[in-house]
């Protein structure tokens, strides 16, 4: 809702009652439909039950495919879709890309009004929520048609697709956090750009050398990107976790969490980072040669490749005692459809089946394939940056896959923000936020039936 809400309504209804109504309308307008599960029923599964393996020979079918690939990965996905369309005369897939936040807010309303896309993408930590909320449908048939086996996937992305004993998502990729460094800046400070630091001691030495050369070497972002992802990684490195494994309790206020956030805030206090870093400024600083190090997502590889920067990427240095890094995972999902059209269901599965096998092309977009076999392939090994980050695969950490887990993560980001910008003591910031997050977890557990 933009700031000047100056519709004729508000103008005429002086007493603001219209404004009041308009506001609740935003919320209420979404309450129209009954649960799509009532409408669609269990007739959601493909009529043929082959999960799309048998192809599609029905009438011309137009499919919609929604995702949030607004970055360098978007064009690659678009090219894959175009290739699919060229190879399938009777199916035309239209891809729509929007910001992830908008996507997650829009998808349920679209599904409940019967306008949901045929195929979608979801992050690993959103699958359970959307399964619980009847936004996406089970696709066991596709999984078995693709002969997916747990042994071929990293454990968490695989497990994340399961909810209530059914499979709701097919893993596409794993996208870990990595350690990017600007080689030119490192040389300015007399550091060897071919030997980036790998542990706490060498990392601190490097930052000190940079500081002596007048460079703030690692900008500590107060925002979820990249501060939140970095501090999460550090929590795991110091031997802690954000939640208990069952996702029932918040654990980030324990000692490892405090150590992690303290280390992050100390970057500022020791002069390795400016005090109030803006959104994305940490990454821009790396590109502009203002800083040497930035922990950022694997999705930046293609962006950096387009510059003439001298840069490198490595696994995160081990600051705590254990190698560990944050990671997310993109997964394919089939949103619930209100009308059960078996041709449509079949065509959607054919597309899903086809595109989930294009691991290598997707890896070139700057992601790590979810399949072990694809990661070990010779083609993937030819992508040096991706391979470097894929080396962390056994040390990657994901959020527990319980419905509504993302709601409580916003509390973690608040603690980061308060400690990094507000000067709040890390232990207090984390304890306060953990207390609030625990309440959210409890509420969600009750809401989604635990």
């Amino acid at each position: 809702m933009p700031q000047p809400t100056r519709s004729p309504f508000t103008r005429r209804s002086f007493l603001s009652l219209a404004a009041a109504g308009g506001m609740s309308a935003t919320v209420a307008a979404c309450g129209g439909g009954s649960s799509p599960r009532d409408a669609g029923g269990s007739g959601q599964a493909a009529a043929t039950g082959d999960g799309g393996a048998g192809g599609y020979d029905g009438p011309q079918m137009d499919l919609t495919f929604w995702n949030g690939f607004t970055g360098g990965d978007g064009p690659t996905m678009k090219a894959l879709v175009d290739q699919f369309n060229a190879e399938h005369a009777n199916i035309a897939v239209t891809m729509t890309t929007m910001q992830w936040a908008d996507y997650y807010a829009k998808l349920p309303t679209a599904v409940s009004s019967g306008n949901g896309p045929d195929v979608g993408i979801m992050h690993v930590d959103s699958v359970a929520t959307n399964a619980a909320r009847n936004v996406i449908q089970p696709l066991d048939d596709v999984a078995s048609a693709l002969q997916l086996a747990e042994s071929d996937f990293a454990t968490v992305p695989w497990q994340a697709g399961l909810y209530d004993g059914k499979r709701y998502a097919i893993p596409l990729d794993v996208h870990p956090l990595g350690f990017y460094y600007n080689k030119t800046v490192m040389e300015e400070a007399g550091l060897d750009p071919e030997a980036p630091p790998t542990d706490a001691t060498s990392y601190m030495d490097a930052l000190e050398a940079l500081k002596n050369a007048g460079i703030e070497g690692h900008w500590a972002s107060p925002f979820p990107f990249t501060g939140g992802l970095s501090v999460q990684s550090l929590v795991y490195q110091f031997g802690g976790s954000l939640f208990t494994e069952d996702g029932a309790s918040v654990t980030w206020a324990e000692d490892p969490g405090v150590e992690a956030l303290t280390w992050w805030v100390d970057l500022i206090e020791q002069g390795y980072s400016p005090a109030k870093v803006d959104q994305d400024a940490d990454y821009i600083a790396l590109k502009n040669g203002k800083t040497a190090f930035n922990w950022n997502g694997i999705w930046q590889i293609n962006d950096l490749k387009q510059t003439d920067l001298e840069w490198g990427v490595a696994a995160l240095p081990t600051i705590g005692g254990t190698p560990a890094a944050w990671a997310g995972s993109h997964q394919f999902v089939l949103p619930v459809q209100k009308s059960s059209d078996s041709d449509r269901a079949q065509a959607s599965r054919v597309f899903l089946n086809w595109i989930s096998e294009q691991s290598q092309a997707w890896a070139e977009a700057g992601q790590v394939p979810a399949r072990n076999s694809a990661r070990e392939s010779a083609e993937f090994q030819d992508l040096p940056e991706q391979t470097e980050l894929a080396s962390q695969i056994d040390d990657l950490h994901f959020l527990p896959t319980v419905p509504g887990i993302g709601d409580s993560m916003s509390e973690f980001d608040k603690a980061l923000n308060a400690a990094t910008l507000g000067g709040t003591d890390p232990a207090k910031a984390l304890a306060d936020s953990a207390e609030r997050a625990q309440k959210i977890l409890d509420d969600n557990a009750a809401k989604y039936g635990g």
Partner: protein, 315 residues
């Protein structure tokens, strides 16, 4: 159809339904998009409502009770948002009321290029909030922004207080000033020239003309501008959402942002609806107060006296 109705009934009176016929299009929109959602929203606010789930749990006034229970999950965020909304409204409304008035006075003068300047000052208002938000996020960037570079300062416009508010208020003023100025211009055009001539003949100074002719002549427009600006400021969302992401430490997270997040990201529709109604109640009270404070006291006095006279005469 309207013609048939007229022919079928008294020519002078018209059908009694005729006015409703003309009202119907607006009424239909109003009922569909304002009245029904407003009532339905009340119903939602009495539930633990998630439109994707099969059953909605009735919680009575529980959601409202939570808003007054400091230990509830939604309490701190909501009241923090309300407080931020108040800060923004108090900080932005004086500028948004006064500056456009000055601008309108300037643009009301006759000078070459007047239309061009009128269009120029109105131009930012045409832009969507996403455009101005992104643009100013880059301009105000503390580390690489143009604003710091031009001013030769080193201010964290989006990540420190009070600068975040200064930035957001300035952006909002720049963005919406033209709209209020246009309203004022229309009001200025309605003030009869004779009033100014009479004032000149009586030897009124520029200030006296402004104080005793312009301001009273603008009163209805001024009331409109104040009420609409307070509401618009209290509904601020996009600027904070894009420029500061509600930061630093949620200090620019407005009530609407809190409600949106709760309702559309965390899908707690019932609690979000309850928050909406509480905010609406506040805004209704504020609007009534505005009317009351800005009412024409002289005119009200005159009306009272006239009534008293009439009573005296009839008695």
């Amino acid at each position: 159809m309207a013609v048939a109705l007229r022919l079928g009934t008294s020519r002078r009176e018209g059908s009694p339904w005729l006015p409703y016929l003309f009202l119907a299009p607006y009424l239909l929109l109003f009922v569909t998009f304002v009245a029904v959602p407003a009532v339905f929203g009340l119903w939602i606010s009495l539930h633990d409502w998630d439109y994707m789930l099969d059953s909605q749990l009735f919680v009575g006034l529980g959601n409202y009770a939570d808003l007054f229970d400091p230990t509830s999950v939604i309490y701190p965020d909501f009241w923090n948002g309300m407080q931020n909304t108040l800060v923004f409204t108090l900080a932005s409304v004086p500028f948004l009321v006064a500056l456009p008035l000055l601008l309108a006075l300037l643009l009301h003068q006759k000078f070459p290029g007047r239309t061009f300047f009128r269009a120029m000052f109105f131009a930012p208002y045409v832009l969507g909030v996403a455009v101005i938000g992104l643009m100013w996020r880059y301009l105000l960037d503390a580390n690489f922004g143009l604003v710091n570079s031009l001013l030769g300062t080193d201010i964290a416009w989006t990540t420190s207080q009070p600068w975040a508010w200064v930035g957001l208020v300035a952006v909002t003023v720049w963005w919406t000033m033209g709209f209020n100025a246009i309203i004022y211009l229309a009001g200025l055009g309605d003030i009869p020239v004779e009033h100014y001539e009479a004032a000149s003949l009586d030897g009124a100074s520029w200030w006296q003309k402004f104080r005793y002719v312009t301001l009273p002549g603008l009163r209805p427009v001024l009331v409109f501008v104040v009420v609409i600006t307070v509401l618009a400021s209290a509904n601020m969302f996009g600027q904070s959402y894009i420029v500061t992401q509600g930061g630093p430490t949620q200090s620019t997270q407005t009530a609407i942002m809190v409600i949106t997040d709760l309702g559309l990201s965390r899908f707690q529709m019932g609690a979000a609806a309850a928050e909406s109604y509480l905010l609406a109640l506040f805004l209704a009270v504020v609007s009534v107060l505005n009317f009351w404070l800005l009412r024409d006291r002289d005119a009200a006095q005159q009306r009272r006296e006239a009534r008293a006279q009439r009573r005296a005469v009839t008695r």
